[in-house]
């Protein structure tokens, strides 16, 4: 008997790790979420109680926060797609040597720590920061623009900046994989450059685009530091709430219920997104290897 070892078998160890590292904590969360906490002794009581879930479903604050995270995720993903696609196109059109340089520049933000970047943004956008100082010096404004920092605008801007590389890289790779002759064929058949892009390049790069959308959505919806340190008073996120409930409030059941709810909603969004992607002809063509 020979054991047929296929490429799929190589994934078994990783699948096992994923199970241990991902599924097991989820099961724990599920169990915790139906327990109660004895606030006198600060111990979890392993007695079934729907209390945490009842709060989860009745208090609007949780739905509001999760909705906000989803909106930040989707908004950032869409903005990043519009901002990232032209960048990816530009990089793909560079000479090979310049592509290397461009990718290094593109990834620069990732080399600096998140906290460093956050404080750098404060220096740039602050009341006495670079932008306001410049605009006042030019005489465009007479009082600092306060909306630049500690507002939802700031959160959107910085999330966009932070996640842009994760949008540009997969799109760029996707563009590189599109056979140039397909573009030539489209032009040859009478398509102007814009039409060739819309009808050939764009459909065939939907896999890269969707990988980018997934990555940016997850990163932006799950980010805690950027909203809380740059978003100002409105910077509270489900993540910071979970942190607060687990740590300060010692309300593990509610924290677990919130974690699971957030996860479920984000998963549902991702599922809908991938379902939509797989309905796209371009994505299907690429996934079945039809490009070769």
């Amino acid at each position: 008997m020979k054991l047929p070892l296929s490429r799929a078998h190589l994934a078994i160890p990783v699948a096992f790790l994923l199970f241990l590292g991902c599924l097991l904590p989820l099961i724990l969360l599920l169990v915790f979420s139906v327990f109660t906490v004895d606030m006198d002794a600060f111990v979890m009581v392993p007695a079934f109680s729907p209390q945490a879930w009842a709060q989860m479903l009745t208090k609007p604050v949780f739905a509001f926060l999760i909705g906000k995270a989803v909106m930040f995720g989707l908004g950032t993903a869409v903005l990043a797609a519009f901002a990232g696609y032209p960048v990816a196109l530009a990089i793909a059109s560079l000479a090979p040597a310049w592509k290397g340089i461009a990718s290094v520049i593109l990834l620069t933000p990732l080399y600096t720590g998140e906290i460093v970047r956050i404080y750098a943004w404060r220096i740039v956008l602050g009341s006495e920061g670079l932008v306001n100082t410049l605009l006042m010096w030019l005489g465009v404004i007479h009082a600092p623009l306060k909306f630049l920092l500690f507002t939802p605008f700031t959160t959107h801007l910085v999330l966009l900046y932070n996640t842009l590389p994760f949008m540009v890289l997969p799109i760029w790779l996707s563009i590189e994989l599109v056979d140039r002759r397909l573009i030539e064929a489209a032009r040859d058949l009478g398509a102007r450059p814009l039409h060739a892009f819309l009808r050939v390049t764009l459909p065939l790069t939907t896999p890269g685009l969707s990988v980018g959308l997934f990555a940016v959505f997850a990163l932006a919806a799950g980010d805690m530091l950027t909203p809380s340190l740059l978003g100002g008073p409105s910077g509270v996120t489900p993540m910071s709430m979970i942190d607060n409930l687990f740590g300060t409030a010692f309300d593990w059941p509610l924290a677990s219920a919130l974690s699971l709810s957030l996860l479920l909603v984000l998963l549902a969004c991702a599922t809908v997104m991938s379902w939509l992607v797989l309905r796209l002809k371009g994505a299907r063509a690429v996934f079945r290897g039809g490009m070769r």
């Binding site: 009478g190 398509a191 039809g290």
Partner: protein, 368 residues
């Protein structure tokens, strides 16, 4: 589709496409090095040459994918130089078909018809085009569900549905197996005749070029070596390169002794002796030249003087190769290996006599 040929045909109408001094350089090397060319209407013209000779580059310049570095390109009396590909009345069948993988066969063929906002329903034209290439059953398939030959047919349908004045085909059959290739050659030739539009075809396969073309343009190193119909090309190659590239031939070096330019005959001194044969234009006495001997113009005489040739040399058989309908034989005469074919194989090492009808040989310039 076009009807009967116009009466003025014999007046030799202005060419469909005219190239003058066409140059394309990549770095320091010139892929196309000063090409002058006329492509006639309704003809099947083939660019033939080894890979890297510049034939595909010319095709790409005609299609508009490459911008010439010099020279002019005029189609229908209009310069093409600054016209983008989408505005040229030219369509291309790509080497690997370049079918859009995300579109069905129908959508691929309809592509050029649906680009304008207010295009009429493309379905009838698409269906007609698919019928023309015998693919009307496959409209809903995706390219990856088709065989190579079927994909090729779709590529042709997609290119011709736009009704180009000129259809460019870039080695469209090179990825197919031999049987499919010869089958599709017949279809292509037939299609070209029915559509009555000019085809410009690129290949490195001489048999394919001969099977299809009205005019063959032989290229080497970015230049045109000879432009002629297949029969002329075979019988009267302009130089040793053409003689060698096209068909099988023994090339014997020598010197022109005397020529009678008017009658196109010359005598030439070779290792096989002095031979009088038709000659290419422009050779003078004293010039080095090549004698082109095609296998079918040589004969093997084994026993008895059954037939005498004006020229005949004793030789020894060196190689015998079975080729199905006949044998290819190499026999050594006066230190030269002559290649010829025979129905009955001699033994290797056998002494034989090789005969030649000099009227069917050809004296040409040395090759490049």
């Amino acid at each position: 589709m076009h009807g009967a040929l116009p009466v003025t045909e014999t007046m030799s109408p202005p060419p469909l496409l005219m190239a003058r001094g066409l140059v394309k350089a990549y770095g320091s090397s010139r892929a196309v090095d000063g090409v002058d060319l006329d492509i006639p209407e309704r003809a099947f013209t083939t660019f033939l040459g080894p890979s890297g000779c510049g034939k595909t580059t010319i095709l790409r310049m005609i299609a508009g994918f490459e911008k010439p570095d010099g020279g002019s390109l005029v189609l229908d009396g209009r310069s093409l130089i600054d016209v983008p590909p989408e505005r040229r009345p030219v369509n291309t069948v790509f080497q690997n078909y370049a079918l859009f993988p995300h579109l069905t066969v129908f959508e691929n063929v309809a592509f050029s018809l649906t680009l304008r906002r207010r295009s009429p329903d493309p379905a009838p034209r698409v269906m007609r085009a698919l019928e023309t290439v015998h693919m009307s059953e496959f409209g809903n398939r995706y390219p990856h569900q088709l065989s190579g030959g079927q994909q090729q047919r779709v590529a042709v349908a997609r290119a011709m549905v736009a009704e180009p004045h000129l259809l460019l085909l870039d080695e469209p059959l090179s990825a197919l197996d031999r049987k499919m290739r010869s089958h599709l050659q017949i279809e292509l030739k037939d299609l070209q005749r029915r559509l009555g539009i000019a085809f410009v075809y690129v290949t490195h396969d001489q048999e394919e070029a001969f099977a299809l073309s009205d005019v063959v343009v032989v290229m080497n190193r970015g230049r045109i070596v000879q432009r002629a119909d297949p029969a002329t090309l075979y019988a009267r190659p302009a130089n040793g390169f053409v003689a060698d590239f096209i068909g099988s031939a023994t090339l014997v070096a020598g010197t022109v002794m005397s020529g009678s330019a008017g009658q196109g005959m010359a005598s030439m001194e070779t290792a096989l002796g002095i031979i009088q044969a038709p000659v290419v234009e422009g050779l003078s006495p004293g010039d080095p030249a090549l004698l082109v001997l095609r296998p079918e113009h040589l004969a093997l005489r084994r026993e008895g003087p059954d037939r005498h040739f004006p020229a005949e040399w004793p030789g020894i058989v060196r190689h015998v190769v079975y080729q199905g309908s006949s044998y290819m034989i190499e026999a050594e005469c006066a230190g030269i290996l002559l290649r010829l074919s025979a129905l009955m194989p001699p033994r290797i090492g056998e002494s034989v006599a090789i005969g030649l009808d000099p009227a069917r040989a050809f004296i040409t310039r040395p090759g490049e």
